[in-house]
Each structure stands twice: as structure tokens, then as C-alpha cells.
Symmetry: C2
Subunit: 233 residues, 2 copies
């Protein structure tokens, strides 16, 4: 209680509407893997933990549903979707087609500063070895390269795809050793070079290849499904 009390929450983190702050909190938790696929999210738990009523939680869950982070069934509540191998395969094929389009649309409008930022992220990925940090930087690199894409629809679609696949991408990257990271790093380098040369064809080719390779490797690891989270039905 007292979430609306300005005294008890003087810092006011997130500032904006309450339902969106809750959505942001849950989004971070899900993307960080703190809530596993298949795990149920009870409205009252969240409401109590964040010191608010259940109502904005309901709205937050609907917002997250729109972003592909939760799924909702009537009278049964929300849960983080669990994917099977076939669904993940299709999601990667969607990425393979949509993200090159996003990059093509974005590239002409990327500023020099934004490209420098990509370069910085790329260097930090190579330097830092922590998986959690890698997940954040990898996402920042790709989505950052689409920053110049003016289309709201395309941006949100791509984000949805990243959201939905995130848990499995993490499980996949946690499998192998450094080897896997080197390959990713090399492919990012190729994409970044093409961006700096302002060469859309090459950028599209390398990006599509990057995603396609990952999809094929994922298909070789059926143990990712069911192993990620096993909390009943």
C-alpha cells in the first residue's frame, strides 16, 4: 500500500503511469530470466510485491502480452509462454526475413553517433565474458542497429520477436564455451563493417546469415526444450 504516497516513494522511479512501471518491472524480470517459460504469474503476488492494487497489474500483463512476453487465457491467468522446437524455428525464420528489412530501413538514417555507439557495444561484447551482460549487449547491438527505422510497426514487431525468443537464446548461449561467442563476435563485426560502409546489400546478407546460422544450430539442440523450465503443464 501507499504506492501513491509521495513521501514513501520520493524517488519515483519510472515516473510515468503506474501500469507501465509495473509492465517495465515485469519485462525486466522476464527478459533477465527470473521468470522461466511456463511459469505462472499470479496477479495478487505481483500487486503485493510492488505495493499496488491488482488492477494495474492486469493492465500491465495485457501490455506484456502485446509484446509477446506473456500469454493470457480466460479465467486461468497469465504465464510466460513456453515454446516448442517447431515454434522457435518459425520465430527465427520470421527474424530472418523481418530484421534485414528493419536494417535496410534503418541504415540510411543512422547517425554517426549511433554507429559509434554500436561500435562501443561491439567492443564491450568482446571484452566482457559474463552471460547476463552478453544478453543485454547482444540485444542492444541488434536493436540499436534498427534505431533509424522510422516505422513503429516494424520496430515493435522485431522487438516482439526478440522478446519471445530471449529465454531460448539465453539457454543456447549458456551451452557452449567461448567458441560460440567468437563466432557471434565475428558475424557482428561483418554486419557493423557493412553498416559503416553504408552497404545495405552486404548488411542484409550478413545479418540474414547470422540469424540463419543460429536457427540451424538451435535445431541441433533439442535438449533446450523442457530443460529450460519444467514447472508443470
Amino acid at each position: 500500500m501507499t504506492s501513491s504516497n509521495p513521501v514513501t516513494s520520493p524517488i519515483d522511479p519510472g515516473a510515468g503511469a503506474a501500469s507501465e512501471r509495473i509492465a517495465a518491472q515485469l519485462r525486466t524480470a522476464i527478459l533477465a530470466g527470473e521468470i522461466a517459460p511456463g511459469e505462472r504469474i499470479r496477479q495478487e503476488d505481483v500487486a503485493e510485491r510492488l505495493g499496488t492494487s491488482r488492477l494495474p497489474v492486469r493492465e500491465a500483463l495485457r501490455i506484456l502480452e502485446a509484446e509477446g512476453l506473456t500469454e493470457h487465457t480466460a479465467n486461468k491467468g497469465a504465464r510466460v509462454p513456453r515454446l516448442d522446437a517447431a515454434e522457435l524455428d518459425v520465430l527465427y525464420r520470421m527474424r530472418e526475413r523481418l530484421e534485414p528489412l528493419a536494417l535496410i530501413q534503418s541504415m540510411p538514417h543512422l547517425t554517426a553517433g549511433e554507429i559509434r555507439e554500436l561500435e562501443s557495444i561491439h567492443e564491450r561484447i568482446a571484452a566482457d565474458a559474463d552471460l547476463r551482460e552478453f544478453m543485454v549487449l547482444d540485444r542492444a547491438f541488434h536493436l540499436g542497429s534498427y534505431a533509424g527505422c522510422a516505422s513503429e510497426q516494424l520496430s515493435s514487431s522485431v522487438t516482439r520477436l526478440w522478446n519471445a525468443t530471449q529465454p531460448y537464446r539465453r539457454a543456447f548461449m549458456s551451452l557452449g564455451g567461448q567458441h560460440r561467442r567468437w563466432i557471434v563476435d565475428h558475424e557482428h563485426r561483418l554486419i557493423l563493417d557493412a553498416i559503416e560502409r553504408r552497404d545495405p546489400e552486404d548488411a542484409e546478407r550478413y545479418l540474414a546469415g547470422h540469424i540463419r546460422r543460429t536457427r540451424i544450430e538451435l535445431a541441433a539442440h533439442p535438449e533446450l526444450f523442457g530443460a529450460t523450465a519444467a514447472r508443470r503443464t
Copy 2:
């Protein structure tokens, strides 16, 4: 009032949860063009007209937002998104890449009965001249051809694209004469033949061409934007 009273609503159309019935009502209205792009949707109006409280309306609007039919801003409410020429162009490029994928995924699983149904829809499109009916049948034809697609994510993405572009597709089809309809009819024939031959390459080619041609023609009609609906900012 009395929406939950089983006596006053014995037929119980839609059966399911109330917020989803409301969403269905609004969805139909928007797709039918009864609510124009840019037009605002006030919660209380809808609540009153459907004899319910504002709360399920809020949820319904969030559901529709997830489907790309409305957009929502804090403290300002929901409205049907209005697109500019650039955004529509990108949406069609997205369709051009995603829908062939959906068709490829769907084709192997289409039953003979489903293909007969597509044939039936195709004939009805050719026979019937009414624009409203055409919009329904055209949508049924395309989305029906993706019925075998098992991926929930891909299906909903494609549906979102159809939702977002629907008002402009209607405005476009209302422009020309029979000429435009003949071309669409012919292209549908090519796609359907490829489906019946179970030829994924041809199907993908014809479908992509169908969408691409429409995109290019749309680009030649800048008068579609702003003409569709003009209810202030």
C-alpha cells in the same frame, strides 16, 4: 446493465469472457470501417452502448492494441491509428516478407477440404461486386490460405498486418473500377493453382508479387492519406 444476466441475454453470443466479446465487437466495427483512422474511442461511450462497465472496455482496448487495431497513449485514450504513406509502405514490405513464409509453412498441412473452401471463396469474389463483401472475402482467402500454419506467433503477426492496413486497402479498392478487381482475381487464381499443385516456390513467388504490386500501386496514390478520415489530429 444486466449484461451478466443470463435471462436478458439467453443467446449469449460469443459465449466467452465479456472483455473479449467487447473486443470482438469493436474489432468488427473497425475492420468494417465504421470507425475511421484517427478517430478517438472513448471508454464510456463503448461501455454505455454495450451495457457494461468501463473496465472490460479498457481491457478490450488493450487486446485490440495488441492486434494493431488501436493505439493507446497515457491519459489520452485510444484511437484507431492513422498511417502515413511511409508507414503503409513499410507495412506492405513486411507483408511481402512474412506472408510468403506463412504460406510455405501452411501449404503442407492444408487439407483438401480447406483448399476447396479457398476455391469457393475465390469464386464468390469473382461473382460478387459489393466492396464490403469483397473486403471480407479477400481477407478470408489470404488468411485462409495460412490456416495450416501451426505457429501462433506467425499467424498473429500476419493478422496484425492485415488489421493495420485494412482501412487503406479498402480506400484503395474503392478507387478504381472493375479493372483493379480483375487483376486481383487473376493473381489469386495463380496463387490458388500453385497451392493445388502443392508448389511452394510458385506460391511464394505469386504471393510476393501480388503484395508487391499492390504496394507499388498504393505509392502512386498519395491522396489516400488524409482523405480516408479527417477528424482532427
